[in-house]
């Protein structure tokens, strides 16, 4: 086939006799339809964003960093709370030690404010 079919579907100047001859054969007509379908196939409307492995964009990196910071903050808070609870429980379980010696005060005297007895 010549490029007359391409010129025709591209709205470019073409030789009508050459086009008639090209379309006179079943192969020529198949080619015409295939090339029109090919145009439809390559339109980006059919394209999916995940065609190529996407590289991490700066916005994605920022979102990931923010999510990681939030997780760390929440995790730290939760850990701190649980440790504080453990300390309260531990404090409640402490009992006073038994006394080893007792001090007594004998011959107790009050002192008057004026300095006398």
């Amino acid at each position: 086939m010549t490029d007359v079919i391409s010129a025709f579907i591209d709205n470019e100047p073409f030789d009508p006799v050459a086009l008639r001859d090209a379309l006179a054969t079943p192969e020529g007509r198949e080619e015409l339809l295939d090339l029109i379908a090919l145009r439809d196939v390559v339109q980006p409307t059919a394209m999916v964003a995940s065609v190529a492995p996407s590289t991490a964009r700066p916005t994605t990196r920022w979102a990931l960093a923010a999510a990681a910071a939030a997780m760390l903050a929440v995790g730290g808070y939760t850990l701190g709370r649980s440790l504080a609870n453990e300390q309260v429980v531990a404090t409640a379980q402490i009992t006073a030690p038994a006394p080893t010696s007792i001090a007594t005060f004998d011959n107790w005297n009050d002192t008057l404010p004026a300095g006398g007895n």
Binding site: D3, D10, D34, I36, A37, L38, Q43, V48, A49
Partner: protein
């Protein structure tokens, strides 16, 4: 101020076609968005615009094409993993499968063939505009487009058959291939 308004109008007129071309040329939407913005920056930073609308369009796509070439050059330097194997059809082709197959077929083309083809099919440039953008003759563009079509026709038999099973449109406008997420 008038220069800025002209640049914005020029970009607005071609951004959908540009994004479509860039999406297919680099295979990633986010990169295509970045490159579309880069084209705009380059238009803004240019001292003068080409005089005619046809030349302006070709100029905008030449800028885009240069950015694509730079992008592929950088990718080649970074690429360390081997290319994935061809997708195997199991008879249940999804749109993601089709997109992957089309992307692979396009990435097998040489730069000139891919750019010429995409500027015509996706962005709707005329042969003269493509010739200007890619620094070729219109006749070379004409034969290259046809050759590339035949090559892709042989590689994309399943998606083409699937498209032929539905209704076709001879001249989809570039605006149909705009920013859809």
């Amino acid at each position: 101020m008038a220069r800025m308004a002209d640049s914005q109008a020029l970009f607005a007129a071609h951004q959908d076609g540009l994004f479509g071309y860039l999406s297919r040329a680099v295979g990633e939407r986010e990169t295509a968005r970045d490159l579309t913005q880069d084209v705009f920056v380059r238009i803004l930073s240019s001292a003068t615009l080409p005089p005619t609308a046809e030349q302006q369009r070709a100029w905008v796509f030449r800028i885009a094409r240069n950015l694509v070439i730079d992008h592929h050059r950088r990718q080649k330097h970074r690429q360390t993993e081997p290319l994935t194997a061809d997708p195997v059809s199991d008879g249940r082709t999804t749109s993601a499968d089709t997109a992957a197959i089309v992307h692979q077929a396009l990435s097998r083309l040489d730069d000139d063939a891919r750019d010429v083809f995409l500027m015509r099919e996706v962005s709707g440039l005329s042969y003269v505009e493509i010739a200007e953008a890619c620094q070729l003759t219109p006749d070379a563009v004409r034969s290259r487009i046809h050759r590339t079509r035949l090559q892709l026709r042989a590689q994309l038999t399943a998606p083409i058959a699937s498209a032929r099973a539905g209704r076709l449109c001879l001249h989809p406008s570039p605006s149909q291939s705009g920013h859809r997420s």
